[in-house]
Subunit: 193 residues, 2 copies
DNA sequence: GTTATTGTACCGATCGTTCGGTATAATCTT
DNA sequence: AAGATTATACCGAACGATCGGTACAATAAC
C-alpha cells in the first residue's frame, strides 16, 4: 500500500465520520492494515493520523484543487475549471468537507491547527483571484470567505437534506461571488431545487 | 430541573461535541442527572435524546428564531430582527449549528429525520418571506437555501478559523439574499475581516 | 403506602493503545 | 562474499479505560 492510498483511505473515514466517529477499527478496515500497523506508521496514534490528514488537505488537496486558478486563460474559464475540480472533490456535494467534520469535538491541537491552516490557504487562493478583478485586499478576503462559506454551507445542507442542488448552485455562483458580479437575476434554468 | 433546562443542556453538549462525541457521562454531568435518571426520561437512550433534541430544534427553536418574519412591519425590519435573533442563537458565530454537528456519523434514523425536518422548516420559513418580494416558488426556495447555506458555512468557517466576521456578514447580507437585492457593492464599513 | 425518581453497582462491548513477535530487506563487519 | 546486525513493515493478542445500557435497592413525593 502506497502512502497516497493510505492517506486517501484515512481521509475518507475521517471526513465521513468525523474525528470521534472514526474508530481505529474503522480506520484499520478502511486501510486494510491492523491497528498495530497503523501505530507503527503513526506513533502518535489517532491524533497524529488526523493531524497528518489535515496537513495533507492543506498542502496537497487545496493546492491541487486551486491549481487552475493560477494557470493561463481568461479568469472565467479558470474559475470554471476550479468549480469542476471542487465538484469532483466533493463528489457533487455528496461528500462532506474535512474542514467541517473533523473540526468538531476534540481532534487534538495539531489537527485543529492544520485544519485552520488549510482553510486559510483556501481563503488566500480565492482572495488572490478576487484581487485580480480589482477588489482591494479586504474586499478580496471577504469575497473569498463568503465563497467558501457558501460551499461549506451547501455541503452541510446536502448532508442534512440529501439535496445536492444548493451545492451545485454554490459552485455555479462561485465566479460571480469572487469577481463581484451581480448574481441577483442569474439564470437558473434547469437548475431548480 | 425543568424540561426546558434539561433540553438546553443536552442541546448544548450535542451541538458542541456532535452525536458521537457526546458521551453519556458528558450528558449526565451537563444536566446534573445520573445516567439512570436520563434513561428514565429517555428510555431509548442516547439516540432518543438526540432525536428529541433535534425535534425541539425544528419545532421550537426554528419557529422562535423565525417568529419575527411573520409579524407586522416592513420586511426589512422583520429580517433585521431575525438576524439579531440568529446572532443570539449562535452567539455571534461562536457556537456551531446542531444541523451541522449532529448530522455527522451515526446519529440514528430518528435524529436524522428530525434534523432534515428542522432544516426544511427553516428553508420554508425563509422561502415564504422571499416569496413576499415577488419571487416565484422555485426562486424563493433557492434564495432560502442559499441564505441558510451562507449562514451554516460561515459557522463552519468560524469554528475552524476562529473568525466570526464571515458569520456577521452572512447575517447582514440575509435580507439582500432573500429579497434578491444586488449585494455586489454593499457597504462593509467597519465590518472588515 | 403507593408511585416516581434517584443512587449504586454492575454488564458486555468497544474504545485507543501497547506489547511481543515475524518476515523481509537493508546495512554493517570481517 | 558470508555472516551478524539493524531497520522497516506488519500482525495477533492483549491491556486498562470508557462506552452505552441495565438491574435493583434506596429515597422522595404525594
Amino acid at each position: 500500500m502506497t502512502d497516497a492510498q493510505l492517506f486517501d483511505r484515512l481521509t475518507d473515514v475521517f471526513r465521513s465520520a468525523g474525528f470521534e466517529g472514526a474508530s481505529l477499527s474503522d480506520l484499520a478496515i478502511a486501510t486494510g492494515l491492523q491497528k498495530s500497523s497503523l501505530y507503527h506508521r503513526f506513533p502518535g496514534g489517532k491524533a497524529q493520523m488526523a493531524a497528518e490528514v489535515a496537513e495533507r488537505l492543506g498542502k496537497r488537496d487545496v493546492e491541487q484543487a486551486l491549481a487552475p486558478l493560477f494557470a493561463d486563460g481568461p479568469i472565467e474559464a479558470r474559475l470554471g475549471r476550479v468549480g469542476r475540480s471542487l465538484t469532483a472533490f466533493y463528489e457533487g456535494g455528496a461528500k462532506s468537507c474535512l474542514l467541517d467534520t473533523m473540526s468538531i469535538g476534540a481532534a487534538g491541537p495539531d489537527a485543529q491547527r492544520a485544519l485552520a491552516a488549510a482553510a486559510n490557504r483556501w481563503i488566500q487562493g480565492f482572495a488572490r483571484v478576487a484581487a485580480e478583478s480589482g477588489a482591494d485586499e479586504a474586499e478580496a478576503q471577504r469575497r473569498a470567505q463568503d465563497a467558501i462559506a457558501a460551499i461549506e454551507g451547501a455541503l452541510v445542507l446536502a448532508r442534512v437534506t440529501k439535496n445536492t442542488r444548493p451545492f451545485a448552485r454554490a459552485i455555479q455562483q462561485l465566479p460571480a461571488v469572487l469577481l463581484g458580479i451581480d448574481r441577483t437575476h442569474a439564470d437558473h434554468t434547469n437548475k431548480r431545487g
